[in-house]
């Protein structure tokens, strides 16, 4: 296992702060599994994730649930944007 740091944007930072760490397999894991693991580790964040509409951003690209993230990736979770 290794440690992945995940930035939490917008209102997602309300529950657990701007960043959380998560233990992940060396080979990484897909985004949908990342969401599940985060919900287990941080129940308050899990509530926000369960409401849906949260997107994962990996290395400055929005990705789908099947995209695999590993420890070297810059991972952020985006709640729905507010717009400008």
């Amino acid at each position: 296992m290794t440690t992945l740091r995940i930035e939490l944007c917008g209102r997602l930072a309300e529950a657990c702060g701007r960043e959380v760490e998560l233990a992940v397999p060396i080979d990484g894991l897909p985004v949908h599994a990342l969401f599940a693991a985060l919900a287990d580790a941080h129940p308050l964040l899990g509530e926000a994730l369960a409401r849906g509409r949260v997107r994962a951003c990996v290395n400055e690209e929005l990705v789908s649930g099947s995209t695999v993230v590993t420890a070297g990736d810059a991972v952020a979770l985006f709640p729905p944007v507010s717009g400008g």
């Binding site: 944007c9 951003c57 690209e61 952020a76 944007v81 507010s82 717009g83 400008g84």
Partner: protein, 156 residues
Amino acid sequence: MTSAVELAEAAFDPAALLARFTDDLDGEGGVVSFTGYARGAAKDGGAVQALVLESYRGVTLASMRAIAADAHARFAITRSLVVHRAGRILPGEAIVFVATASAHRRAAFEAADYLMDRLKTEAVFWKREEGPDGHRWIEPTEADQADLSRWTAKQD
């Protein structure tokens, strides 16, 4: 086409941006600008001490660039400028400035209008109003969504 998109971390002067934009004109007949300002009251009338716009690295700028590119693809404009504040914005300060130039005025009006509708709903910001009783997260309003849907309907 010339399209410039910028994030501003500090207060900016819309008139200075308009001057900069029009200095570069090359015979265009019309220039439209829009400036959006932070307001001192929330929709429910409560006081707003500051509006905080959180952005995310290159993704925010990329979202603005994509919107500007769509405006250039869609309207006969020759140049555009989009400047958007990020961070903590006080009431009365400008949040966003958009300028468009075109040979004929209709394209400049429509492109500026379109840019604002897209920016207000799709630009990657998370926005909260800070007041005396704490803060409140803001999402696009139904009016914003209705404004945006005008362009989808027209496209077909």
